[in-house]
């Protein structure tokens, strides 16, 4: 490992902003050559004596429901309540399909004190990915995992294919604006399968939030009757009044502890996702022949970065041009 990389890792572990910012950029870098660097940095991070182990909280909900505002508040509260705790936010905004560019607006809603090392905010564009996360979101989570205690991941919130965030998050928060929908819509949307916690947000707006709250409760009682999984918690929240925020913090943390997934499972899921993105269904069909299940292949290749290169090589031959990690 090069000297500069070592400094970067040390700085990042100490939560200094500049090295952190740069380190995260390495995990966003789509050039094939970046994989080797990423592997070194990742190895150093995961072996670092002062590394942390993050729990991930996925946050989704319709555009404008209040995800960013809420996450900002939660991050501030968590960091204030526990002076050892380090919290990161990774927020994904949609890219323009025309130009590919994006306005990363989530940050605008969140004001974390510039001098506080334990709070970190990073924006990402979704690129042309579906499913609410960006191409590099999982990659960046691989790094944040070792650096923070809690990582919030805010999706684009378009409401489709939210399953990704369910896998990534140890707990998933769905933010509902007042008058989010009626009973049938809640049932139809399949949304009820995603959340560990539902926030009926903007409760300061009074009656409309009450209606949503009651409707949701009724729907949940119905859809969760009988099957063994714990029903999602429903909390009325507002960043205007602070209502429900303490309860929401507590629910999210305890549910994240309870459901905590192994990171290896997440890797396997996103590795498959990467294959699908890079090589389509053809790639996925070839996976069993090349290396068994995603989990087996990852284990055999010695980690995510190597697995990507190995898979590309197996599929495309030695030069393996034209793929990106």
């Amino acid at each position: 490992m090069q000297r500069g990389e070592q400094d970067l890792v040390e700085g990042a572990v100490a939560l200094a902003k500049a090295p952190l910012g740069r380190l995260v950029s390495i995990f966003e870098d789509a050039r094939p050559g970046a994989a080797a660097k990423r592997k070194r940095v990742h190895a150093a991070l995961s072996a670092h004596p002062r590394r942390r182990e993050a729990s991930f909280i996925g946050v989704t909900g319709a555009p404008g429901s209040g995800k960013s505002s809420l996450v900002g508040e939660l991050a501030l509260r968590l960091a204030a309540a526990d002076t050892d705790l380090a919290v990161a936010v990774l927020a994904v905004d949609p890219s323009s399909h025309r130009s590919g560019g994006a306005l990363l607006g989530d940050r605008t809603r969140v004001r974390l004190p510039a001098g506080e090392r334990r709070l970190f905010f990073r924006s990402q564009s979704s690129g042309l990915e579906l499913g609410g996360l960006g191409r590099a979101s999982f990659q960046v989570c691989r790094a944040l995992r070792h650096l923070f205690d809690v990582v919030f991941v805010e999706t684009v919130g378009i409401g489709q294919s939210e399953i990704e965030i369910r896998v990534l998050g140890d707990a998933t928060l769905v933010v509902m604006p007042p008058l989010a929908g009626d009973h049938v819509q809640f049932m139809k949307a399949g949304l009820m399968e995603i959340p560990d916690v539902l926030a009926v947000h903007k409760s300061d707006q009074g009656e409309p939030a009450e209606v949503t709250y009651r409707t949701l409760k009724a729907t949940l009682d119905l859809s969760h009757a009988g099957d063994g999984t714990p029903a999602p918690a429903v909390v009325k929240t507002s960043v205007e009044t602070g209502a429900g925020l303490a309860e929401l913090c507590a629910e999210l943390r305890s549910r994240a502890e309870r459901r905590r997934g192994s990171f290896a499972d997440k890797e396997a899921y996103f590795f498959e996702g990467w294959i699908r993105g890079e090589f389509g269904r053809y790639g996925l069909r070839r996976l069993p022949a090349i290396g068994g299940t995603a989990a087996e292949f990852l284990a055999a290749s010695g980690g995510f970065d190597d697995a990507q290169a190995a898979f590309a090589r197996a599929l495309l031959g030695d030069d393996a041009p034209g793929w990106s990690p």
Binding site: A18, S25, S99, L103, S123
Partner: protein, 681 residues
């Protein structure tokens, strides 16, 4: 009063006659010049000179710290003190500012919003200490907070608290200073932020409705006294270069206001339903290129609000030919004032009844604007009124959209701007040839004097009285009592501007307005745009991800148009963009860029403090060890002579209004990033 207004003659309909049938001219509108700079002393001299030259009212520009509620020695204030207006730190400054100017004889207009109550309190306290009768004070505190959130940016508190302040000022003024306009609903700034005529009318009238509905709800006035309150609402309107349409807009404004006052508020007295308005003509369309052309634009715009007697303004202030270069110098202001004097005194304009009454063209155009505006007013009403439509971001988005459309039209050459996208070749302007380049500069020595004055005030005052006054203010704020008297006591106790605002920040909190840029597009098209998009695409491949740009507005500067257009254009050409709105500190901007791993910082400054802010930004980047990684570019009102200083500080490119072609600006930014890549490899 009303009986002295001449009437159209019945015998000769083209003439105006007095009560007694004698031929008579109308009295001219009030001539105003917007001014103030450096320090209270310097501004006092300026005011007295202007009054001596025949100006008939005062229109005070305050510096940004005073407008945003900071004393001159606050770190946020330092780069901006005295730059764009006069700093007022305490009652002592007001004594100096109005020395030898009789308050009772003045009609004083104050462009003040976030701290409007404080400035009115200071003015009343000044009258009390000088032994003049506060009840006789005449003038206006601008005090329209809605347009601050939407366009102007000098808000402090959240909407509810700010609206309460406005309502309390109406309640106080109606009782104690009956000739004072507690607020002046503004559409001027909306047009400067892109509003179409119908948007201007609708948003301003919705704002007036918001204020009056609140006052009615608070229940201090009823019946006649509420009607009087409706009658006190005055307006501050823009007049753009499409001057026929603008004249029709004024008629639309008047007719709709009459309708609202009658139907919504049940005001019977037509006098109280009159649309009383002052004007500043459009400045957004005044250009940096061939600046002498602006003189003609200003003239034509002035016609729009004076030609038609039925829709004539009550007060007029004009910008100057060098609007896009710097603040006006005294001579520039004089030149604009002369325009008004010639129009009113040399021409026959004031001898006629309305020239357009009965014109089917004007009537139809007016109706069209009214219909569009009425629909918009209803839409805002349906959303829950102006406060809700601000909070949801609707109104801001609508303005940014209009601004983007305007920028796109100019960029494509569909809207002609002479000297800019048409007839751009021309001889060099001798107006910028003088020693000062046609630019105004702030008197630094005077600024220092002002700072010393602030220290002296703090030293001399009775600290106990100041503390007690602030406590009283806080209590009034918490208990929902009218804060005017408590503010006047603060003024008398030599509380400072920063202390007054801080006390209320503690109670109400602070606010951050929407940027309005989400979901916007400039629809940049054509070969050049495609080329730039491809260039960014290539860069993305070289960088391994999309280049990421942080657009930042440091300091107290509220000019957001440029930053908004740049942010939208950057997204349109394939950059990932972070723009968090106005009034950030250099520290916050650099922190954002570092944390986000930005490839470039683009800073926009129009308030004249670019040198100080560049210094600060570059130092902080160094400190964060990102000086080499993250190139910085600047844009805004930046005099030619300062470009070299910026470059010396490490700024890579500097853009000014001449760079109106956004595609080209984006191309230049891509180039800066390519240069960085070349250096790195």
């Amino acid at each position: 009063m009303a009986s002295r207004v001449p009437k159209p003659s019945t015998q000769t309909p083209h003439a105006l006659v007095s009560e007694g049938g004698e031929p008579e001219r109308d009295r001219p509108w009030i001539f105003r010049t917007y001014g103030g700079h450096s320090s209270a002393q310097a501004s006092n001299r300026l005011f007295r000179d202007n009054l001596a030259r025949g100006q008939t009212g005062l229109s005070i520009a305050f510096d940004l710290p005073t407008q945003c509620g900071y004393s001159s020695d606050h770190p946020l204030a330092r780069p901006e003190v005295g730059k764009v207006g006069v700093p007022v730190n305490s009652l002592d400054d007001l004594h100096v500012l109005f020395e030898d100017i009789p308050l009772e004889k003045m009609n004083t207009s104050m462009t003040i919003n976030g701290t409007s109550m404080w400035l009115l309190a200071l003015y009343v306290a000044l009258a009390r200490e000088r032994g003049e009768d506060p009840a006789k004070l005449r003038g206006t505190t601008q005090n329209d907070i809605i347009k601050e959130y939407l366009a102007r940016g000098t808000y402090i508190f959240p909407p509810d608290a700010s609206m309460r302040i406005i309502a309390e000022m109406y309640e106080y003024c109606l009782e104690h200073i009956p000739k004072w306009n507690a607020s002046n609903v503004c559409s001027y700034h909306l047009q400067e932020a892109g509003a179409t005529p119908a948007q201007e009318v609708a948003f301003a009238l919705s704002t007036a409705i918001g204020v009056l509905d609140l006052i009615r709800e608070r229940g201090q006035f009823s019946g006649d006294s509420f009607a009087t309150c409706v009658g006190r609402v005055s307006f501050f309107v823009n007049a753009g270069i499409r001057f026929i349409e603008e004249m029709c807009k004024m008629r639309a404004f008047g007719e709709l206001w009459d309708e609202i006052a009658r139907e919504r508020y049940g005001v019977d007295d037509p006098e109280l339903r009159r649309f009383r308005y002052g004007v500043q003509v459009n400045s957004l369309g005044l250009t940096e290129a061939q600046p002498e052309n602006n003189a003609w634009r200003i003239l034509l715009e002035a016609l729009g609000v004076t030609l038609s007697r039925d829709a004539r303004c009550r007060a007029l202030q004009l910008p100057a030919w060098n609007e896009a270069l710097s603040l006006p110098r005294p001579w520039d202001q004089q030149w604009s004032l002369r325009l008004q004097q010639i129009l009113a005194h040399e021409t026959d304009l004031l001898e006629y009844p309305d020239l357009f009454a009965g014109s089917p063209v004007v009537a139809s155009k007016t109706e069209a604007i009214k219909a569009e505006a009425r629909a918009e007013i209803e839409r805002i009403d349906d959303m829950g009124g102006v406060r809700a439509a601000v909070a949801s971001g609707y109104m801001k988005s609508a303005l940014v959209r209009s601004m983007a459309e305007r920028a796109a039209r100019i960029g494509r050459g569909e809207q002609t701007v002479v000297g800019v996208n048409a007839f751009a070749e021309g001889l060099p302007s001798p107006l910028v040839g003088g020693d000062d380049g046609g630019l105004f500069s702030v008197d630094e020595a005077a600024v220092r004097e002002g700072l010393e004055g602030l220290e002296a005030t703090r030293r001399r005052r009775d600290p106990e009285r100041a503390r007690a006054a602030l406590d009283r203010l806080r209590r009034a704020a918490e208990r929902d009592e009218n804060m005017m008297e408590a503010s006047i006591e603060c003024a008398l106790a030599r509380v400072t501007t920063g202390e007054w605002a801080d006390a209320l920040r503690g109670v109400f909190g602070e606010y951050r307005a929407m940027t309005g840029i989400e979901g916007q597009s400039l629809g940049l098209r054509g070969r050049r745009a495609d080329e730039v998009t491809r260039r960014v695409e290539t860069l993305s491949r070289r960088l391994g991800r999309r280049p990421r740009v942080v657009v930042g507005k440091p300091g107290l500067d509220g000019h957001s148009n440029g930053a908004e257009m740049i942010a939208v254009a950057a997204r349109d050409t394939g950059f990932d963009v972070i723009y968090s709105g106005i009034r950030l500190t250099p520290e916050e901007i650099v922190h954002t860029a570092v944390e986000e791993g930005a490839d470039l910082i683009g800073i926009s400054v129009l308030s004249g403090s670019h040198l100080e802010l560049a210094e600060d930004v570059m130092a902080r980047l160094e400190e964060a060890q990102a000086g080499d990684d993250i190139p910085v570019v600047f844009g805004g009102i930046i005099p030619e002579a300062d470009i070299a200083s910026l470059t010396r500080r490490g700024v890579r490119r500097v853009f000014t209004p001449k760079d109106y072609e956004l595609v080209q600006v984006m191309d230049a930014i891509a180039e800066v990033l390519e240069e960085r890549e070349a250096r790195a490899t």
